[in-house]
């Protein structure tokens, strides 16, 4: 049953996410592509909307993905699923959490675990780059790579990708503003120069 499937998948995602909302991205991406529920582009759009709406990224994404796959009940199943591991863990472990927390073995376990989260995020970055910066590969892509490699990428997407980095690193602009600004640029530019997409 789809609701049970959504619930159990998001429960698993909640249980194995360490280190904030972005760390959840590779896990969701893996589940969505292996079930063929969402295309990379669709998932990218959902992530973007989750960024510019209030609330924790993970809750937004779970609600949205659940809705796209199975309507309102689907989003309830996914959201409850993703929240439940936190609730269960904290409510059952409270009494000895403090002791386990400071145990050297726990510290070392997390010391080994954290770098893998970075690795997962790095692979998710590549995944999104493929969905956003690179054009869908045509049959003769190898030929194109030799003749005109720039045809393989979307110029406006590359430009806005670079612009985002500059605006956020150099000018510390609010990420939500940057997302909206980039969307506005493509709305204005693409009708005039469709070839830039």
């Amino acid at each position: 049953m789809i609701f049970w499937q959504l619930f159990s998948i998001f429960f698993r995602i909640g249980l194995f996410t360490f280190g904030g909302g972005y760390a959840m991205v590779p896990l969701i991406q893996r589940e969505m592509t292996s079930h063929q529920w969402l295309s990379p582009q669709q998932f990218g759009d959902i992530l973007a909307i989750s960024q510019i709406t209030p609330g924790p990224l993970a809750i937004n994404t779970a609600t949205y993905v659940g809705f796209v796959i199975a309507g309102v009940a689907g989003s309830a199943a996914a959201t409850i699923g993703v929240m439940l591991p936190s609730l269960i863990l904290i409510l059952t472990l409270t009494h000895w959490l403090d002791r386990v927390w400071h145990h050297p073995l726990t510290r070392m376990t997390f010391h080994g675990l954290r770098p893998t989260v970075v690795a997962l995020l790095a692979s998710a970055t590549w995944f999104f780059a493929q969905a956003s910066l690179i054009r869908p590969l045509a049959q003769d892509w190898l030929e194109q790579l030799k003749m005109a490699p720039l045809n393989l990428v979307s110029p406006i997407a590359i430009g806005l990708f670079a612009l985002t980095i500059v605006l956020q690193v150099r000018f510390k602009l609010n990420p939500i503003l940057v997302i909206l600004l980039c969307g506005l640029v493509t709305i204005l530019v693409l009708p005039i120069w469709p070839g830039w997409a």
Partner: protein, 198 residues
């Protein structure tokens, strides 16, 4: 000093408000929690909040939900925890549902499609920045660099499942505890000191 036992409703309402005004992930929630929970309502002290933030960051699950569950639990036990967690998640849930239902109708429009081309490029850059930021904080010595690199290779070459990747890292950490006690001591000592001073 600390006021005792807010009602379930006031827990839920407070976290609803916090959830509604948090943009851009769980960490953006910290200043709001400071204002609403520590300063205005005096439910917990600033020092308690810092401890809870540290535990919430390392426990699995959603940071914001972990934090609100902890705070609710301190106030009114199990039911208080559930009330706070629901309050925290509810605004997202409602806003996203409304938006998703609306967008489903408009996604065929060219304007909407154009909008998302730019938006996707921005999100890709933001994920890259998040990766770099997290990497700088976590990958600090050769050992963590090797673990990160090995995990990355396993993910891209044999497409290792993310859960197995995380578990593999945890195992490597435990192995270090037993097999490299000198290194482990070096890692654990400063972390403890840091924890006590904060």
């Amino acid at each position: 000093m600390l006021l005792k036992h807010p009602s379930y409703f006031s827990l839920m309402a407070t976290f609803f408000k916090i959830g509604l005004f948090t943009f851009g992930g769980g960490y953006a929630m910290i200043p709001l929690i400071e204002r609403e929970v520590v300063e205005k309502r005096c439910w917990i002290s600033e020092k308690d909040l810092i401890d809870l933030i540290a535990i919430s960051q390392s426990l699995p699950g959603i940071f914001a939900i972990n934090l609100s569950t902890f705070i609710g639990q301190r106030q009114r036990g199990r039911s208080g925890a559930i009330a706070s967690a629901i309050g925290c998640a509810l605004p997202s849930f409602l806003v996203i549902l409304a938006l998703a239902a609306g967008l489903a109708r408009f996604q065929e429009l060219v304007v909407v499609q154009h909008f998302f081309i730019g938006v996707r490029a921005a999100v890709t850059a933001q994920i890259l920045l998040a990766t770099l930021k997290m990497g700088r904080q976590i990958v600090k010595d050769k050992v963590t660099a090797v673990i990160a690199l090995a995990a990355w290779l396993l993910v891209i070459v044999i497409d290792l499942h993310p859960i197995l990747t995380v578990l593999g890292g945890a195992t490597a950490g435990m192995a270090l505890y037993w097999l490299a006690p000198t290194y482990a001591r070096r890692i654990i000592q400063p972390e403890r000191k840091g924890g006590e001073s904060s």
